[in-house]
């Protein structure tokens, strides 16, 4: 026992020593910003950053073969973009998938003093505007942006829209056909159809206080119907809503697995789940709201030239088609076909969504909304 423990102690101590050495090693590494003896995997971003702080021009002038990308896209999509970009330009993308635009923005802000990323891609352009105001983004207007609708281009040139997502209704066909169709309820085609009392407790949507999509939906109703009628609509809808989820996407899977009959979320996410084989369909109602997916170059990034190449590349027809296919979102280019299973964008009568106004009234709207739903 004595001797056995002695040996085991040795092992534990050795492991502990190893652990502390890794920690120390990694600390040292970050201090001198260079070598990566203990954890080679951390080396990549490190060396990128040291290059950045030393001489950004020099590294881009020397024709670096790299691009560090922060993404708020789905990971599968990033991987495909990475492969395709390498094929087309020979440039290697190092990406960090941050899941949501909010996290990506938080990250870029936190790294403001020594940027690690060259480019930020994905997520609504609303997230890019404040970054531009903080001086985190680099101005760039792509030559490929000229033919696009004006609403997709930043008038100041800090961000660039390259895809578009719309809000839609997700419907569980199995439950609908079994429970609601016999009662004579028609499949919902408009936002107003959701007010049918048949949906009471069977409809789910997201909370504007926490979910970006949830807020765009609420703003949509206010823009679509005007202030007063808009609130009436929301109040009536509230009677049908089972609960408001914290995230915009939460309702899709809950509807897909039959917990609820209908829900509100981003159409492209709904299509994605439908393609997995769930008995759901997407409905894009008239007067729906939309988000413009953005891309922006981070000021002070190490590979500025490659970042510009990437923006140009994103706006080509080929990549527009590729993105539409993989993410089920509309391209900003008119010559790209709509995603499979969705109406052409010309036929969708988009609401006149005033982004500046939507951003300005957010605090008041959320407060009023919170009061309205009470403790539901």
């Amino acid at each position: 026992m004595f001797r056995r423990w002695g040996k085991r102690t040795g092992n534990v101590l050795a492991l502990a020593l190893l652990a502390s050495m890794t920690v120390l090693g990694a600390c040292g590494q970050s201090n001198d910003g260079g070598g990566s003896a203990a954890s080679p995997s951390a080396g990549g971003t490190e060396s990128a950053s040291s290059g950045a702080s030393a001489s950004p021009e020099a590294s881009s002038a020397s024709g670096s073969n790299k691009l560090v990308l922060y993404s708020a896209l789905n990971e599968d999509d990033v991987i495909q973009l990475k492969q395709k970009f390498k094929e087309d330009t020979g440039i290697e993308i190092e990406y960090l998938n941050l899941g949501s635009a909010g996290e990506a923005s938080t990250r870029v802000q936190a790294e403001k003093d020594s940027p690690k990323a060259d480019i930020l891609v994905g997520g609504s352009v609303e997230f890019y505007q404040p970054l531009a105001e903080q001086g985190i983004l680099e101005k760039y207007t792509s030559p490929n942006a000229g033919e696009l609708d004006a609403k997709f281009n930043d008038p100041n040139g800090f961000w660039q829209g390259w895809y578009m997502g719309v809000l839609g209704i997700v419907l569980n066909k199995e439950r609908f056909d079994k429970e609601l169709a016999p009662k004579g309820v028609k499949e919902p085609a408009t936002w107003d159809d959701l007010l049918d009392p048949a949906y009471k407790g069977l409809f789910i949507t997201s909370n504007p206080a926490t979910a970006g999509g949830g807020y765009i939906f609420v703003a949509d109703q206010l823009f679509r119907l005007g202030e007063d009628k808009g609130w009436d609509y929301l109040k009536q809808l509230n009677a049908n809503v089972h609960h408001y989820t914290p995230k915009a996407g939460d309702g899709i899977n809950l509807t897909a697995t039959g917990e609820f009959v209908a829900g509100m979320s981003w159409a492209h996410d709904i299509v994605k789940s439908a393609k997995q084989g769930y008995p759901i369909k997407v409905i894009v109602p008239q007067q729906t709201a939309y988000e413009i997916g953005g891309v922006g170059i981070v000021k002070g990034g190490a590979n500025a030239e490659n970042a510009k190449k990437f923006v140009d590349w994103l706006l080509t027809k080929e990549i527009g088609e590729m993105n539409t296919k993989m993410s089920n979102r509309y391209s900003v280019r008119k010559d790209v076909a709509p995603p499979e299973g969705m109406t052409p964008i010309e036929n969708v009568n988009l609401v006149d969504y005033d982004r500046a106004k939507a951003a300005g009234m957010k605090a008041d709207v959320v407060k009023k909304f919170t009061d309205m739903i009470g403790t539901k």
């Binding site: 203990a38 971003t45 789905n74 949501s100 690690k116 897909a256």
Partner: protein, 547 residues
């Protein structure tokens, strides 16, 4: 009163000049711990403008969230502690079958990554749930505080169990015999002798459970419905609206009740310690309980065990089905997500291993200094070691991101920041275990060793360490498991090359790829258990010599 206390502290500190090595260690531990615990907290707390804090009262939604958080913490802590006590009692005191299963059940929920288990609950107990709708035909709605209560109880009772088990295992059986002998009935013995002796354990367990419930945002996100809670709000303010200021306000609001709980615990338990290992050894079998009590408790344990197994069973099964929750036909397709993520899995295991070891070692040193040495700053060390437990994971992660992002402490994007954050996040778990261990080892054993010529270090190594092997390893194991499955702490500090498995799970859940997320979770859990088994660190197998 205060001045005399200060003078005493100063006297104790002055005495340290006789032991320079000890003084250096203490200074190093104080500086390191203070730097990695207090500095990030200060960073977060000082981020919002003072006016932003007023919103906590003016914003009805947040105020409600704060009340809800307190309510949920209170009821869940009660239920967690009760279930944990039930399991600990059954496993340590009763001669019942299936103990192995019960032990396993108390480890399983510790390794559940956020989000994914909540989905299992919905599938089982949702409005169309397999159990609720199809089995019981009940119109049961899980969304809301009652559903969340159930989920939080099952998710967090294992943390309380770990602590209570440690204390029950070593509680003095002969005192119960003494009480019986004095004419006390079984119930009286239980109330007057057994429970008071377990008080430190129960209080410690309740504290750990309360802290976890208070800080959890994964389960409420999906289960709570319209029942808003502070951590969920904080997380959504950051990830949904990138509103760092609001997030900091909400996180800070969580700190206060957490600190309150910590203080209450210290007051209630006090410096009470019941020395059990004195070096005079005896072995007594536990006093038998009547068989109806025994089998009644067994039935309760079995019920909870089946419940947990069902939840994880669904998760496991879902990993191999075509469409999660809809088309249950078998497929291996979901595993392709896993194979593409080798680096993340490797990182998960690596970081978890290093951080849990570092935490266990640091905790041992801290516990030793705080409990065994009169150095004037004992209370401060104690506070520093337990404080990270009062800080919600998201808060700690955010604090690390904010505190170590510029020279000379620029750790952004390194493995070091991941390991350090996880280490300090795990510190309270390991510390509580070690502290309880120290409190149960009589001082005379230590003195005997000194007396025989062993120095402080040697005594620590050959007497205290072996006797603390149990608490040390259980702290290590729990830390390892929760590190592998931790998301909250690392969500703001991982980078392209230091991403871990839970991040992949999160993005799969966000993509609606629940099958893939389940598969990933199953693989991650399996690897975690395999690593534990490989190093024979699972406490259940280490009972060769009970204290």
């Amino acid at each position: 009163m205060i001045s005399s206390a200060l003078r005493k502290t100063w006297m104790d500190i002055k005495k340290l000049k006789h032991e320079p090595a000890l003084a250096v260690v203490i200074a190093a531990v104080l500086v390191t711990t203070g730097f990695f615990v207090l500095w990030p907290i200060v960073k977060v707390v000082s981020f919002p403008r003072p006016a932003d804090y007023l919103q906590l009262f003016t914003n009805a939604r947040w105020f409600q969230a704060a009340l809800n958080s307190l309510f949920m913490t209170a009821i869940s802590t009660l239920s967690c502690t009760a279930v944990a006590f039930l399991f600990a009692y059954a496993i340590t005191r009763l001669d019942i079958p299936l103990k192995g299963l019960f032990r396993f059940v108390t480890l399983l929920p510790i390794v559940s990554p956020p989000f994914i288990v909540a989905l299992s609950y919905i599938l089982l107990f949702g409005r169309q749930g397999i159990v609720s709708k199809q089995l019981l035909q009940a119109n049961f709605d899980i969304y809301g505080w009652h559903g969340l209560w159930l989920v939080q109880t099952v998710t967090f009772f294992p943390y309380a169990y770990a602590v209570i088990y440690g204390v029950l295992k070593t509680s003095a059986v002969h005192l119960e015999y003494a009480a019986h002998n004095l004419g006390a009935t079984r119930w009286q013995v239980f109330r007057h002798v057994f429970l008071p002796l377990c008080r430190p354990g129960i209080a410690g367990g309740a504290l750990i459970a309360a802290m976890n419930v208070l800080a959890d945002f994964g389960n409420p996100m999906i289960i709570a419905g319209n029942f808003t809670l502070l951590p969920t709000e904080a997380y959504m303010q950051m990830s949904g609206w990138f509103d760092l200021s609001s997030a900091s306000v909400l996180s800070t609001a969580l700190l206060l009740p957490a600190l309150g709980l910590f203080l209450a615990n210290r007051v209630w338990v006090g410096r009470r310690s019941y020395v059990v290992v004195t070096g005079k050894e005896s072995s007594l079998r536990a006093y038998p309980v009547p068989s109806y009590v025994k089998w009644g408790l067994f039935a309760c344990c079995l019920f909870v065990a089946l419940f947990v197994l069902a939840v994880y069973g669904v998760l496991f099964y879902g990993a191999f089905t075509k469409t999660w929750g809809y088309d249950w036909s078998f497929t291996l397709r979901n595993l392709k997500y896993v194979s593409a993520k080798g680096t993340e899995l490797y990182n998960s295991i690596r970081y978890a291993l290093f951080s849990s070891l570092a935490a266990a070692v640091l905790a041992m040193i801290l516990a030793y200094l705080a409990e065994r040495k009169r150095i004037g700053v004992n209370r401060l060390l104690d506070l520093l070691a337990i404080l990270p437990g009062a800080v919600p994971g998201v808060f700690l992660g955010l604090g690390f991101a904010m505190a170590f992002n510029r020279a000379p402490f620029e750790l952004t994007g390194t493995s070091a920041i991941m390991i350090l954050a996880l280490t300090f996040w795990n510190l309270p778990t390991c510390y509580s275990a070690c502290l309880a261990g120290f409190q149960q080892i009589g001082r005379s054993l230590e003195e005997a060793s000194l007396n025989l010529g062993a120095g402080s270090f040697r005594t620590f190594r050959s007497i205290l360490l072996p006797l603390l092997k149990g608490p040390f390893l259980s702290g290590l194991a729990v830390s390892f498991l929760r590190s592998v499955t931790c998301l909250s702490v690392i969500i703001f500090i991982y980078s392209a090359h230091t991403s871990v498995g839970t991040v992949s799970i999160l993005s799969l859940v966000q993509n609606g790829a629940w099958g893939g997320a389940s598969a990933f979770t199953v693989v991650l859990i399996s690897i975690a258990f395999a690593v534990l088994a490989a190093t024979r660190l699972i406490p259940a197998t280490q009972d060769r010599r009970s204290l």
